[in-house]
């Protein structure tokens, strides 16, 4: 029983990480049909912004975080949209997919070349203490990740449904052309989602790097899991991404214990295929309008 809870909570905590990366992913898809193959690297990079701030410029941790947040909003939000996404908007998703693959290589190789291939320790947000629940030893860190993830998404949801800008963003996501007719500044709304995504990946980086350690190749696996999470939950739904992430984390852990460690990726992948084939809108997603 203790094992079961251990696996469940650890799975949820890891799932929270996937969820954070997946949320931004679905946001970009909704507003601009961007499939970002560099999303994993987007989470990897801000951690190095923080490390550079601390080691090169001698900033205290909190200041380095603020600087990194601003820097990632500029580079991963604003510049990403203006320089890469905008020129390709009218050419379908595939050229942009290729461009983001290129971006992923650039970020990975850049970090490796300029900062090194090693893993680097990263200051934790909380002390590495354990909490014991029903016989299972859970790390405080994991619980904090889970809490902040859910908090961030709830806050985001409140923002989207409770504020004028948020509702305009939702309208943009639902149907850009109608939104434009209604006088919503669609361009600006899309830019906001990119900025939000940049802030989310920064938050994800802060939460997970103490556990992942800062390493150039972190994005590879994380990006893949974020994809899977987003699809399982519903590509066009933020809540779906959360559920997808959590489900994925838990499935992954149970697979490893009860089925096979060598094939631990298989069960989530098969689950993904089944979801796509029989419920393509995802666990929580809505059916996208079809044009006949």
């Amino acid at each position: 029983m203790a094992d079961f809870i251990q696996l469940l909570i650890a799975g949820l905590a890891t799932g929270g990480i996937y969820a954070l990366a997946a949320v931004g992913f679905t946001l970009l898809w909704q507003t601009s049909q961007t499939i970002n193959f560099a999303q994993g690297e987007f989470v990897m990079l801000p951690a190095f912004f923080v490390l550079i701030g601390m080691s090169f410029f001698g900033m205290p941790f909190w200041l380095a975080c603020v600087a990194a947040l601003i820097l990632s909003m500029i580079t991963l939000g604003f510049m990403f949209k203006k320089l890469l996404v905008d020129p390709m908007l009218n050419h379908g998703t595939l050229p942009l997919v290729i461009a983001t693959i290129g971006l992923a290589i650039l970020m990975k190789e850049g970090v490796r070349e300029f900062y090194g291939a090693d893993a680097w320790p990263f200051p934790p947000l909380a002390e590495a203490t354990n909490v014991t629940v029903l016989g299972a030893a859970l790390s405080l860190q994991s619980l904090i990740i889970l809490g902040i993830t859910i908090g961030a998404v709830v806050a985001l949801q409140l923002f989207l449904s409770g504020t004028r800008t948020g509702r305009q963003m939702q309208a943009t996501a639902l149907n850009p052309s109608v939104a434009r007719i209604l006088g919503i500044p669609v361009e600006r709304m899309i830019l906001y989602t990119f900025l939000i995504n940049a802030a989310l990946v920064m938050l994800a980086a802060l939460l997970i790097t103490p556990i992942y350690l800062a390493k150039f190749s972190n994005g590879e696996l994380l990006g893949l899991y974020a994809f899977i999470a987003a699809i399982i939950g519903g590509f066009n739904q933020m809540r779906g991404a959360i559920v997808g992430g959590l489900v994925l984390g838990v499935i992954d852990n149970f697979t490893a214990v009860y089925i096979s460690t060598q094939y631990r990726l298989v069960v989530p992948l098969v689950f993904l295929i089944i979801i796509i084939l029989f419920r393509p809108q995802g666990l929580l997603g809505r059916v996208e309008e079809r044009t006949v």
Partner: protein, 380 residues
């Protein structure tokens, strides 16, 4: 920090190229500079670069400056073969690398054909049995390392059963297979056999399995970061060891990343920059000064490989750059730090290019690797 280093090394290379007046000898490094195992390939490279810079600063090999070219295999066999071909086309005197066993295998026919001595980093057992007379290891094959570990588990830990957790890649899988063979011949039962992924983060499930196995000891065989994460999760779930491992588990990097979770870990270390030898300690300091990070065993492999070439060329070949003679002279050769300080630890190569060296038993005490016993060379 690394940026400055990169610029420095680029300009160093430019400088090398800009001084054609001096006679030059070409060396090539072929390794995994990018891709999944870039840490190993990168360390090996920096070891090589450090040795080359030191040697050049003192006038080169037999008066000839070393012109080093780097070839990145991207950890991909097809690319490795292409890059090796490229390196061989350039007709170097000798080659350092590849580091990964798979990349050693794919390039082997080319080295045989070119009769090119190459100093590899790969530790897979079978590499020295595949008919490449020009292959020389820079560290033990696993068929030498693993019996030492198995003995240690039987004699020192006195474990009757063992739970094994390993990383499912070129490095982890070959090590695991060799260890299993040795354990079987010593009647040590395998209680759990847990495969993990490179880059894995959440080890909760894996540790649950290890706990359930209830073995006398846990053997951890993975890359440094994963070792650290495994130890942290083991501590969290209260998995009692003893934890036994190899070079990576006991490396300073793992200890640094795992913090107190690595305390008490013990095992056998084939090659380590923490060895209590004057030459190794000095090397470690020089490496850290030059590259701003701590060398792992792959750095030593690259470093000693270059010095072996220098020693043999100067002392055994009388300064003649004859690569067949180099390979010939390497076989059955012993180099001691007294002959050549750059070799760091006394090393013997046998007829197949396999290596014999002292190795160490170690334990993590107070956040530091402590060598508890030095195991003699097998040939003694």
């Amino acid at each position: 920090m690394k940026l400055l280093k990169s610029i420095a090394s680029l300009s160093a290379l430019a400088l090398m190229a800009a001084t054609p007046a001096v006679a030059q000898v070409k060396l090539a490094y072929i390794g995994e500079i990018s891709g999944q195992l870039a840490v190993s390939g990168g360390n090996f490279r920096d070891g090589v670069v450090l040795a080359v810079e030191e040697i050049n600063a003192k006038g080169g090999i037999a008066g000839q400056r070393i012109n080093l070219t780097l070839y990145d295999t991207q950890t991909n066999p097809g690319v490795a073969r292409a890059q090796t071909q490229k390196a061989l086309d350039d007709n170097p005197y000798a080659v350092l690398g590849p580091v990964l066993s798979g990349n050693v295998k794919v390039t082997m026919p080319l080295f045989i054909q070119a009769e090119m001595p190459h100093f590899i980093g790969g530790e897979a057992a079978d590499l020295v049995t595949l008919g490449d007379k020009y292959l020389f290891r820079t560290s033990f094959g696993q068929q030498i390392g693993m019996p030492k570990i198995a003995n240690y588990i039987r004699d020192e830990i006195k474990a009757k059963s063992i739970a094994l957790i390993w990383v499912n890649n070129d490095f982890g899988k070959t090590g695991r297979d060799n260890l299993l063979k040795e354990l079987a011949s010593r009647n040590i039962r395998l209680a759990a056999d847990v495969s993990t992924e490179a880059g894995q983060v959440d080890f909760a499930a894996d540790i649950v399995k290890l706990k359930a196995a209830n073995a006398d000891a846990v053997f951890v065989y993975s890359n440094e970061e994963e070792c650290a994460r495994i130890m942290r999760e083991a501590k969290r779930q209260g998995l009692k060891g003893p934890f036994v491992g190899d070079t990576t588990l006991l490396s300073q990097k793992t200890i640094e990343l795992a913090a107190d979770a690595a305390e008490g870990v013990q095992g056998h270390v084939g090659l380590t920059s923490d060895a209590p030898l004057k030459e190794v300690e000095e090397y470690k300091a020089r490496f850290q000064k030059r590259f701003n990070y701590v060398s792992d065993h792959n750095g030593i492999k690259g470093y000693t490989g270059v010095y072996a070439i220098k020693y043999v060329t100067e002392k055994k070949l009388g300064g003649k750059f004859d690569r067949k003679a180099l390979a010939e002279a390497m076989r059955g050769l012993t180099i001691t730090p007294k002959d050549e300080p750059g070799i760091l630890i006394e090393t013997t190569w046998d007829q197949n290019g396999e290596i014999d060296r002292i190795s160490f038993l170690a334990e993590v005490v107070g956040g530091k690797q402590k060598i508890t016993k030095i195991l003699p060379k097998i040939g003694k």
